[in-house]
């Protein structure tokens, strides 16, 4: 896919994310908006998937460990026609197939259920290890938040994946510098994620997480070198429209129809600049 089309897809996924959260009236806007560009690149250009055959055995998988960013992944799946875009308006409604946190038993296209932070990378390691045992050549992608890396289980999984040379596992860190209660730097500073991952034996790439070309090039450069890869996505929490970018507490916000309309127009305007 061309870079222009990828950028258009990212803008569309952002607008669909806003629409989903608008329908619920509130939601995890900050962490959803920060990963839209990475999701656009993964699902539109990188991952070996078939929305018409979502259970394809040797497909690539995605584990969205920061499961509260489900709305962005649902928007991506709807954009790829896993289910009708209209269904996004059922986000968090009673009886919905689109709960706030990802649920593989409810949503077509969700590979692993997540929501209790810090667990996704272990599941992704299991998927990657199992894929190798099956003889597949697929890749398992896992997105974690930078705040989420405070959970110790991540570092168990990081150590494990390096030891077992899981070169079919790619970790993407949404390095948006913020967590629910504020800035990671103030709550528990991550220091250098790149140096830490390198020390654990991972191959590390660092890119602008809102530049689809940079993300795409990084993901395409990944080689099977008997090491797992991590892509540190330098992102901004709430990125894409003013109201969520400037809000001090943007982890979880009320989104009114007026705010949503303004945001969608702004996303279009920025995209066409």
């Amino acid at each position: 896919m061309t870079i222009a089309k990828l950028a258009a897809a990212a803008a569309e996924i952002r607008k669909l994310t806003i629409t989903a959260i608008e329908s619920a009236g509130y939601g995890h806007i900050g962490g959803s908006m920060s990963i839209c560009d990475a999701l656009a690149v993964l699902y539109c250009d990188i991952m070996k998937i078939d929305p018409a055959n979502p259970d394809m055995a040797d497909r690539d998988r995605l584990v969205l460990s920061k499961g509260h960013s489900g709305p962005a992944l649902y928007a991506t799946l709807a954009y790829k026609n896993y289910f009708p875009k209209e269904e996004l308006k059922t986000l968090n409604q009673n009886g919905t197939n689109l709960p706030s946190h990802c649920d593989r038993l409810k949503t077509k296209g969700i590979d692993i259920s997540t929501g209790s932070l810090g667990q996704g990378l272990s599941l992704a390691a299991g998927v990657a290890y199992g894929s190798k045992l099956k003889g597949y050549t697929n890749t398992c992608y896992c997105i974690v938040g930078d705040g989420e890396l405070q959970e110790g289980q991540n570092w168990e999984a990081i150590q494990f994946a390096a030891h077992h040379c899981l070169d079919n596992l790619v970790l993407l860190i949404d390095y948006n510098k913020r967590q629910l209660d504020g800035y990671t730097e103030e709550i528990c500073a991550p220091r250098s994620l790149a140096k830490k991952l390198q020390a654990f034996g991972w191959e590390v790439l660092e890119v602008n997480g809102h530049d689809v070309e940079a993300i795409r090039n990084a993901l395409l450069s990944i080689k099977r070198v008997k090491k797992p890869y991590v892509v540190v996505l330098d992102t901004q929490k709430g990125y894409g429209c003013s109201f969520s970018e400037i809000e001090g507490f943007n982890h979880y916000m009320v989104v009114t129809p007026d705010m949503a309309e303004t945001a969608r127009a702004e996303i279009d305007r920025r995209h066409h600049q």
């Binding site: 272990s122 599941l123 299991g126 998927v127 290890y129 894929s131 099956k134 289980q153």
Partner: protein, 323 residues
């Protein structure tokens, strides 16, 4: 006496963990999806022979139970049937949120084997002595919980587990225990084994307490009391039909477990009876306290888990029957 029972109760000739490993290897021979996942207690859990037989199907995660459970969830998502081995405290208490979310919540297919049930942890003491693991696992929706009374169950139950989709917790111990069953005994997951008939009181036990219940029955016989002994090897889902039948026919129930009386077999039985057929119940078990170091015999006396304790509670319970 039931034809499944051995004629003389003697110490088994095989360790529990060796019988388990034989069964796991047998399951893996016929089911290529079976994997062995370890957390650095493979020597203790007795599965080294699995690794020798199937080196590519054994993954030792090291000392990271939380990760190991999540890893098993990922393997299950790829169609594998991981059997995860750790001491009971670490398999359940340490990794509870992982068992809940990475396995049960998303309907995975993982078999957790928790070693050193209750007082069988002996010299490892309070940190390693699970009196709470059944309670924790009972709270996990759809979790099947099994505690075998001796090694006889493994040969049929482990291959059956491998071929039954769902998450299981097996509460095991490693050493030799008193042989309860003969070689022709049969087991069905979720169906209790009534080992002896009797109509004055029913003793419902699991794990090492089944033998204590059989000894208690002998003590009670000398006092003219006939006790029914039931091996409730599947704690969840509970065989409520068997429990209610025992309540109807005996009118008094004693439960016996190597576990806290809070959250364990006794409470499960009480819940079933309260809903369907209330009769007097007495519980033999650990009374809301922690483990400690000691020999198994010593600890069973300290925590009042002996045949004598069961017999005493049985007499108390019979005394509470409505005349």
């Amino acid at each position: 006496m039931n034809e499944m029972l051995t004629e003389r109760f003697t110490l088994d000739t095989i360790e529990m963990r060796a019988a388990y490993c034989d069964a796991l290897i047998a399951a893996a021979e016929t089911n290529p999806a079976v994997l062995d996942v370890e957390a650095d207690v493979q020597y203790s859990m007795g599965t080294k022979r699995f690794k020798e037989r199937f080196p590519a199907r054994c993954i030792n995660c090291g000392i990271m139970e939380a990760h190991a459970i999540g890893f098993c969830g990922g393997l299950s998502a790829m169609g594998y049937v991981p059997f995860f081995h750790a001491f009971g405290v670490f398999a359940t208490r340490r990794a509870f949120d992982q068992v809940f979310l990475a396995l049960a919540y998303q309907d995975m297919n993982v078999k957790i084997i928790g070693g050193d049930a209750g007082v069988t942890a002996t010299a490892n003491g309070g940190t390693h002595m699970p009196f709470e693991d059944i309670g924790l696992m009972r709270l996990v929706p759809n979790m099947t919980i099994i505690e075998p009374a001796d090694s006889a169950m493994y040969a049929t139950v482990i291959p059956a587990m491998a071929n039954t989709y769902g998450n299981f917790y097996v509460r095991s111990c490693r050493r030799k225990v008193t042989k309860i069953y003969n070689k022709d005994a049969t087991f069905t997951i979720g169906r209790a084994n009534t080992l002896t008939q009797g109509d004055d009181v029913a003793i419902i036990a699991c794990g090492i307490m089944v033998y204590e219940a059989l000894k208690a029955r002998e003590l009670l016989l000398t006092k003219g009391i006939s006790a029914r002994v039931i091996d409730m090897h599947t704690v969840k889902p509970l065989d409520t039909a068997c429990v209610i039948k025992a309540a109807r026919e005996c009118g008094a129930i004693v439960t016996a477990e190597n576990h806290n009386i809070i959250g364990g077999l006794g409470e499960a039985v009480c819940g079933a009876l309260a809903r369907a057929y209330p009769v007097p119940v007495e519980q033999v078990g650990v009374n809301d306290t922690f483990g400690q170091v000691g020999t198994q015999d010593y600890l069973m006396k300290v925590y009042r888990l002996t045949a004598e304790d069961i017999a005493t509670k049985a007499i108390q319970c019979i005394g509470r029957k409505q005349k």
